[in-house]
Structures are given as C-alpha cells and as structure tokens.
C-alpha cells in the first residue's frame, strides 16, 4: 500500500502549516529520510522528509497554501503500489442560488452552457476562502468581508459561529479609515502573521498585570566579567538570567503553570523560553528543563539555540512546551518594557539594560548598577503577591549566587 505523507504534528500547539516549497517534483524517486518539502509553522520553518523509498506522487498544495495538521501532502509508492482514492474536498460552496422547485417540480438549474461555477472564491490577498453557506450569508448581512473572518473549521473553513463571533468583537460602527497612499505593501511573513494573531489573542484574552522592579545587578555584572575570561564560550546576561530564573521558578509553581479552563495546570519541568529576534520576526525557542542544567551545560546550549533560531533551523520540539519566557532587550538599550505573555504560559519577564543609578546609602549617594525587570502575570493564575515574591527571590539569587549551591 502506498505510504502517505501527511502534515506532521510538530509541537503541542501546532495546528497548521504553510507550504514554502516542494523540494522534489511529481513522480521523482526519493529515498526515505530525504527532504522533500519545506513548510512554515507559526514558529519557524523546517523540512519534511520522505517517509519511504519510492516515487513521490499526488503532491498536494502549492507555495503559500496553508494546511492543517494531518492533511495529506503526497504519497510515496513502491513499484506496484497504487495511490488510494483521494477524499474529495467539500464541493463548491460558491454555488449560485438555485430557486426551489416550481409547480412542475423542475428546479431552475443552470444549463451546462452557463458559466461554470468557480470552485472557490479568491479573496484579495490570494487566499482561498472556504465558508459554509450560512456563514457567507451572515457575513454578507453583517457587512463583514468573508476573508476577514478566521475559520475554525478544517482547511480554515469558516462557520457561522466564526462570523457571529466577529460581530461581538467588531465595534458597532467602523469608520472608514482615511485612505493613505502606501509607499509599498509588504506581506507579513508567516512568523509575523501568526505572532500577530497570538499576541492579539493574548492581549485581549489574558488579564495582564505588571510588576516592575529594578534588580540590583552588581553581583551579576561581576560574575559576567569574571566568567568572561574563565569560560569559553563566555556566558551572556541572558544565559545567567535563564539560570537564575529557572532555579527560582522551582519555588514558584504558579508562575510556571498555565491557565486552562478554570484550572491551574502545574508543570514539573521548567522549560524557559528566550525571545530571539530574527529577520522574520520574534521567535521564542525553549530550553527544556532549564533548571536542571548547570552553567556549563546551559551556556553552549542557549547559544546554539539562538544561532539556530536565527537560521530557522529549529526542530519542532524546540518550539513547544515552554512554561515561562524571558525577553531581554537590554542589548538594544531599552530601559524597561512590559512584555505580552506567551499564552498559555502564566508569566513573562522583560529585562532592560544595565543602568547606573544613584542610591542613597549611609548619608551619601552611591552608584549602583541595576537592570529593570518587569514581570507580566496572568491574573487568573497568580496575583501581585505571587509575582512580588518571585521577584524578591530572583533578586536574592542575583545578589548572592551562592544561594544556588
């Protein structure tokens, strides 16, 4: 029997992928393990390999097509094998309205000479819009362009409920934005687009609150300077923070959990994400079980992860399962900022640059080095006290590394 190649699940949260390009042609001989297709997910792109030796046939999908997890991409047939009957996608949802049967019982069907009904409607941005008849009618009635509705059905199919949800989200009156001539239009990369959807969802669904604290950083800076000459590669600020934060999170399960349907999901593993800026947008790879890694293990690991992130070489496992995120914009000279939680995580820590500030101590002003730490917390799972305690414990570690022993 022919071997089916399907869109794989590449992480807990993955639902769909976009085809970047096929690396082989229809009918080409492939070997098991050979890369045949490049796809984009919401985090990064990666290659899909042939599942068997043979001829790869019935390639489905073209560059830019979005397919859900589990969709058939192709079949690999060994000599003598045949491709099974392909399941039909749902037929034209663009059927012209047909009058119901009149007295003669003959429906007023279009004759074959009439124009063929298009298989699907292309929206302006080129994506095919699949929507149920009820959804289309509701969208038309509401004045919402159907392409603006994101569908919850298979292949992004839009259902009535999706359209109705839009009604509750959209403002009652949408004024036409003033038309400005754009210098040029840039399509968003998949990473940005999905990032946009995620952050929009997080920002609207998750009740954020923010705790800011200037962390005393003298010891941190000293450690960095000392290790600079002692370790190769030398640790960065981010790596030391991962070390400190991951250890601290052990004692703060609320912040290492997630909100799920009215319950707090607690995670034993501390899987810390670090925010990495890439040419296509922000990616947040995961350092699994970060709290169990020694500095010697952590440093090369994080550096490698960051490099591969920038080169879009991550494996799916490296993009899923995160329980907490650290975002460091200190190297960009940002003093402080409030980050948006990577839902469904419970919290995110935003770190600013090292600043020297005056502190009044023993009758005089003394310079102190600090970094701003802003903790964004999902108020459904933790409150201010939880966050404050975490920051206090973190500060203890940053001031006194011996506490980690």
């Amino acid at each position: 029997m022919a071997t089916e190649l399907k869109v794989p699940t590449l992480g807990m949260d993955m639902e769909e992928a976009t085809i970047v390009r096929w690396l082989v042609e229809e009918g080409a001989e492939v070997k098991k393990g050979e890369p045949v297709l490049e796809i984009d997910t919401d985090k990064t792109s990666f290659e899909i390999e042939a599942p068997a030796d043979g001829a790869i046939q019935a390639l489905r999908g073209e560059e830019g097509d979005t397919l859900p997890v589990g969709a058939t991409l192709a079949y690999v047939t060994a000599p003598g094998e045949e491709i099974p009957e392909s399941p039909e996608e749902s037929p034209a949802e663009e059927a012209q309205p047909k009058a119901s049967g009149d007295a003669t019982g003959v429906g007023r069907q279009k004759s074959s000479e009439d124009q063929a009904v298009p298989a699907s409607e292309d929206s302006e941005d080129g994506r095919k819009v699949r929507a149920s008849p009820a959804a289309r009618r509701a969208a038309a009635e509401m004045g919402v362009p159907i392409e603006n509705v994101s569908g919850s059905g298979p292949y992004g199919r839009v259902y009535l409920s999706d359209v109705l949800e839009m009604e509750t989200e959209a403002p009652a009156e949408e004024a036409e934005p003033a038309h400005i001539d754009a210098a040029r239009r840039e399509p968003l990369s998949r990473i940005r687009r999905l990032g946009a959807e995620r952050t929009a969802r997080s920002f609207s669904e998750v009740p954020h609150f923010y705790l800011t604290r200037d962390m005393e950083a003298d010891r941190l800076v000293e450690l960095l300077e000392r290790l600079e000459s002692r370790m190769d590669p030398a640790p960065s600020m981010t790596e030391l923070l991962v070390l400190a934060v991951s250890r601290t999170l052990r004692d703060h399960p609320r912040l290492n959990g997630r909100y799920a349907g009215g319950e707090l999901e607690v995670h034993d593993d501390v899987n810390v994400r670090v925010a990495v800026a890439t040419d296509e947008g922000l990616v947040v790879p995961v350092i699994a079980k970060a709290d169990t890694l020694s500095l010697r293990e952590l440093v090369p690991k994080v550096k490698d992860l960051v490099r591969r992130t920038r080169e879009h070489e991550l494996s799916p496992q490296e993009l899923s399962g995160g329980t907490f995120t650290i975002s460091n914009l200190g190297m960009m000279e940002i003093d402080s900022f409030d980050a948006i939680i990577n839902t469904p995580e419970a919290a995110i820590l935003a770190i600013g640059r090292i600043r020297t500030v005056p502190e009044w101590r023993e009758g005089g002003w003394v310079p102190r080095r600090v970094i701003s730490a802003t903790l964004s917390v999902d108020h459904r799972v933790a409150d201010g006290a939880d966050g404050a305690r975490f920051l206090a414990d973190l500060q203890s570690v940053l001031s006194d590394w011996e506490l980690l022993l």
């Binding site: 397919l67 859900p68 589990g70 969709a71 058939t72 399941p87 749902s90 059927a95 309205p97 047909k98 009058a99 119901s100 049967g101 429906g107 149920s132 008849p133 009820a134 959804a135 289309r136 009618r137 919850s152 059905g153 298979p154 292949y155 199919r157 259902y159 009535l160 409920s161």
Partner: protein, 337 residues
C-alpha cells in the same frame, strides 16, 4: 383515552375499525385468514368478518394486487397485504403501470383507493430476500403514496388516513416494530398523510428519520445530549408526499442535517431529503455539509454481526453527528460512505 398497545395491534385496530364502519373495506393476502397473518397482524379478523372480507389468497402477488386494483376501480376499498415487502416485486406492474397511472391515463376518470400493507426492513436474520427496504422505488412513481409509520399511534392513525385516501398507498410496517408498545387511543382517529412530526426539539443538529430507525435517531439524540449536543429529531412518517417544509424549518434553526434511513444509501429516500434542502432556499441556512446514515450498498447478509455491520445504528448516528461538528480535516467517518 390512551392505553398501551403494540404496533401490530394498532394496525389491526385500524383495519378492524375501518371494516366495521365500511363494508367496502376488505383485506386480502397470503395467510391472513385463520393463520392470522405471517406476523399475526390479522389475528381474530376472519372470525369477525368472514372469509369474504378477510381473504386468504393463493401465492399470487400480481394476481391479488391486480384484483384489488380492479375492485378499487369499482369503488371498493381493498387492503392488499404483501407478506414480506421484498415480494412486492411480483406485483410491480399492477402497482406501477396500473394502480399509479389509471387515473392519470384516463384523464381524471376513475380512482384506485388501494392500500398495500407490507412489512419491510432488516434485523431479523432473514437475509437478503426477506429484509429489504425498497420504499425509494415507490416514492419515484407519481400516482403512488408511501407511508412508513414509526410508532403505534402513528400506525393506527396513518393506516386509517390511508384507507380514506382515494389514491393507492403503500404502507410500510417494520418487522421489528410490531412488538413495540405505545399509547394509542381506542377511538378511531386519523394522522394526516404528508406531515412530519418533531419528536424531539433541539438547536444543534437536525436528524431526519422514519420507521424503525426513527428510534435510533432518538437514542442517538439522548447520547448526544450527554455531550451537550441537542439534536432535533424529525419523524417524517410519510415518504411520499414528503414534508420538505418541515425539514427546511428545522434546518433554518440548526444549519446541520443528518438523515437516518434504513434503505441503502445510493438513491435512497434520504437523497431526496438532502437534494431538496440543498437546491432550495435552505442551502443558505446550512452550516455543514448534509450527511446520511444509511444501509450499506449491499444485500443484507445472514450472519448477525455482518447484518448489524451493514445497517444503521444509534452509535453510527452519534458518530455521524460528531464528525459533522468535528473541525479537524478529513474526519468524516466512513459510515457507509
């Protein structure tokens, strides 16, 4: 005043009450006399009405159905009982070429008020030639009416209404419904032909069924309710003329259609239900593709498990509804595609 009787008794009661009121009503079929009918439906009747009105016929479906057609043309009201609905094939000319068409061909002169009663359906291990559901053949013949009651109440009411009807009516009973009990008033009453009934109200999906599998739809609806899905169940009761408006009303509410039918899927009566919804205004109320849970396109096999495998069941209906609501691609369960 309602009391509980069986479907079989309800059918008998309709015939007996009609025969008491109208001399021109008579029953003719194989073994309907002293034997009481192969399924016991006419038990006791020959004793009350005599052999001229409860007539044992030789094994001549063409002959006695044709005779009933002629008697009907002369103003009598015959009930022809075909012992197993599969044997209706012997009488096809009499029903299709004669009974259905005489009035039309004669330009409106003459009527053929014959009722053909026959038990159909599977589930009894009687195998391929004694288990069929061929009602779709007859809804396709203009001039005939086709009725398939699901409950004892409807069986009595619809049979009485069929006997009143001046047209030829094929009245499908089900072997597995004969023992089912239900509330049935003692006095004579009619249930109008051509009207569906809403047997369960719901908002989430419309299940259209009739006959034995109407029960399956109700059972499925109960299971689905446990998952928070409220199904609306429509009992069509009459297959021709079909109450498409009732289906349309329900679809406007739920947007989702699942037909549950015992006959084989290909060109079964469910196809007509779906076609009417899709080709009409109701298309714009559909939020999912319509689905049919039907018999597999095979003759009915003998082995009990094989038989169950090719027939609809409440579980298959539940699965079909779940598939309809599932948002994952390609998850359309193969309920006899």
């Amino acid at each position: 005043m309602p009391r509980e009787i069986t479907y079989r008794e309800a059918v008998r009661e309709a015939m007996v009450q009609a025969m008491r009121e109208d001399d021109s009503v008579f029953l003719m079929g194989e073994d309907v006399g002293v034997y009481g009918g192969a399924f016991g439906v006419s038990r006791g009747m020959v004793e009350e009405f005599g052999e001229d009105r409860v007539v044992d016929s030789p094994l001549s479906e063409a002959g006695f159905v044709g005779l009933c057609v002629g008697a009907a043309l002369m103003g009598m009201r015959p009930i022809a009982e075909i012992q197993f609905s599969d044997f209706i094939t012997h009488s096809m000319d009499q029903l299709v070429n004669q009974a259905a068409k005489l009035r039309y061909m004669f330009g409106g002169a003459g009527r053929v008020p014959i009722v053909v009663r026959t038990p159909g359906g599977a589930g009894t291990g009687a195998a391929a030639q004694h288990s069929q559901s061929l009602e779709a053949w007859f809804i396709h013949v203009p001039g005939l009416k086709v009725v398939m009651p699901s409950t004892p109440y409807d069986a009595k009411g619809l049979l009485r209404a069929a006997l009143d009807d001046p047209n030829p009516v094929i009245f499908y009973e089900h072997k597995l419904l004969y023992n089912r009990k239900g509330d049935v008033p003692e006095e004579p009453y009619r249930v109008p032909l051509g009207e569906a009934a809403v047997s369960r109200k719901g908002e989430d999906v419309t299940l259209v069924a009739t006959g034995l599998v109407h029960r399956y739809a109700l059972e499925a609806a109960d299971s689905l309710a446990d998952e928070g899905i409220e199904a609306e169940v429509l009992d069509l009761r009459t297959l021709s003329p079909m109450d498409h408006e009732a289906v349309a009303r329900s679809i406007r509410k739920t947007g989702k259609l699942v037909v549950v039918e015992e006959d084989v899927k290909t060109a079964g009566w469910g196809a007509e239900v779906v076609a009417r919804i899709v080709e009409g205004e109701s298309f714009y109320a559909l939020d999912r593709a319509p689905a049919r849970v039907a018999g597999a396109d095979v003759p009915i096999p003998y082995n009990k498990n094989l038989e169950a495998y090719v027939r609809p069941s409440p579980e298959k209906v539940v699965e079909a509804v779940r598939s309809l609501l599932d948002t994952r691609v390609g998850i359309y369960s193969e309920v006899y595609s």
